[in-house]
Amino acid sequence: MPTRYVLIGNSAAALEAIRGIRKHDREGAITVINREEGPAYSRVALPYYVAGEMTLNDLLIRQRPDYGSLGASLVEKENVTAIDAAGKKVMLASGKKVEFDKLLIGTGSETIKPPIQGLDQVPHHYLWTLDDAIGMKKAAEKAQTAVVIGGGFIGMLAAEALRKLKIKLTIVEMAPILLPQLLDEGAGKLFLQAVRDEGVTVRTDALVSALAKKGDAIEVTLKDGTTFTVDMAVVATGVKPHVQCVSNGAVTVNKGIVVNEYLASNHPDIYAAGDVAETKDFLSADRSIYAIWPTAVEQGRAAGANMAGAKQVYPGGLGMNVVELFNVTLAQLGRFREGAGDDVKMLNQGGDGLYRKVVVDKNGTLVGAVYLGNENGAAEMGVIHSAIKRREKWQGFQDGRPPVFTYASVMHRVPRY
């Protein structure tokens, strides 16, 4: 009998898992359970929809027939309420049960609700699901001013989208810099200045303590007592693994679903990939969750292949981010904020808007990098990315010049005949 694969989730991890499975198994039946409506859309593109640069149709990265052509069936608008690990069944909110031989949990992340007084009483917007984006776009059409609570990755993407709509912004971030997960202090300061130069009000080291309705507007109160009013509020205070469907203890959950190097949980037939999976880390002995698209793709592929019987080892999660905001391109790889024993190589200090830094561990191995500069320069981060993955050593400065990171610099050092 062909294997029955069930995938919970319909984004990067699950979509790549379909491919991973089909590389090794052309017969098995694949069922994709989506809690939202419709075929897959790109979460990464949502800010572009809010900014009016893409239509709803543009956001789709699959059409319904695409599932069928890969021998997969898509179940829409169904929530998984529980997983019966022993009976190998998935329980749906509608009361239906779906049996599986191999299960992938790729439910992703959900937004974190911050402890702000009065939050439930005022209209506010997240930017995580398609419905969120549709709601935010509608609100933005009527707004002239907005507060963005949280200056992290999502917060800044929301801010950039609203700025394109000519909305006057105040960003409130609790760290001393914007994008604290993406930038070190040096690049962070440069970026903060670039954002302020665009006329955006940024409050760092600040917390929103309360929100209140004031007519049609919203009054924002900061912890230090300052108040101001805005037309709309955006909440972007982070995400956490979406683990409700395993809250009955079907599999071991720490921060996310704990998986081994094959992306299997403590139950040999239940796998997890993407934002919901807690995997080993590429650079350290720790376990980690990088809630980013590229890791979801990598993990989804490997998990799918392993569900279909391959023995693909996932080498561990490695952080990587790139974004262009306020006319600056920012990118980060691995351990970009140096730890104890690490060595920092500054390639550019920030003059002329160019900041390049490489982090090397105590053995001389490349472990991280930060880039702030123009669009094209970010290509070298791809080369550094692959060098980190191959655990290459830092080659040193050449004649006092910073090294040029091109693939050729790697090939050049391979003995040629």
Binding site: A12, E16, S42, R43, V44, A45, Y48, E53, M54, D58, I61, R62, W293, P294, V297, R301, M320, V322, V323, E324, T329, A331, L333, N374, E375, N376, A378, A379, E380, M381, G382, V383, H385, S386, Q398, D399, V404, F405, T406, Y407, A408, S409, M411, H412, Y417
Partner: protein, 154 residues
């Protein structure tokens, strides 16, 4: 499928290819907008033309969150401008550093073989670039490897 094959030992870093590429695609002579770039090590007189190799398992296409990078029927890896949102994840995914970006269009770009007549190849005076069928390229690589090992030509 046809590919651009690089004869590194013939490259003199004259950079005609970079100018030809940027002019034919962007109507401007700008090496930073070229899809082929010369990595230079002047002190060591080592020059390496770098251009998209249209990987069999292309990391840029795998990572693209809007499925804007797709393999065409002729085998090439192509960025579809109307789907690209300019997020630059492909730039971070390319181990060769040959995914470029056009600030004007706001989209990523790689070698597109100039619709079958690569201008970099046309303008490469030293003959370091050739546009050849992959089967021929493989045969060439085998010959080179055999020569390096001192084996007779097959």
């Amino acid at each position: 499928m046809k590919q651009i094959v690089v004869h590194q030992e013939k490259c003199t870093a004259c950079r005609e290819c970079e100018l030809a590429c940027s002019f034919s695609h962007e109507n401007i002579f700008s090496p930073t907008l070229s899809r082929i770039r010369i990595a230079d090590f002047y002190e060591e007189q080592f020059y390496q033309p770098m251009v998209c190799v249209h990987c069999a398992d292309a990391p840029c296409a795998a990572v693209c969150p809007t499925v804007a990078i797709q393999r065409q029927t002729d085998g090439q890896i192509k960025v579809l401008d109307d789907r690209c949102i300019g997020c630059k994840m492909c730039l971070l995914a390319c181990p060769f550093g040959v995914m470029g970006f056009s600030p004007e269009k706001g989209v990523a770009h790689n070698c597109d073989f100039c619709d079958g007549d690569p201008q970099c190849v046309q303008f490469c005076t030293p003959g370091a670039l050739e546009f050849k069928d992959v089967v021929a390229i493989e045969a060439l690589a085998k010959q080179k490897a055999a020569a390096a090992l001192g084996l007779p030509k097959a």
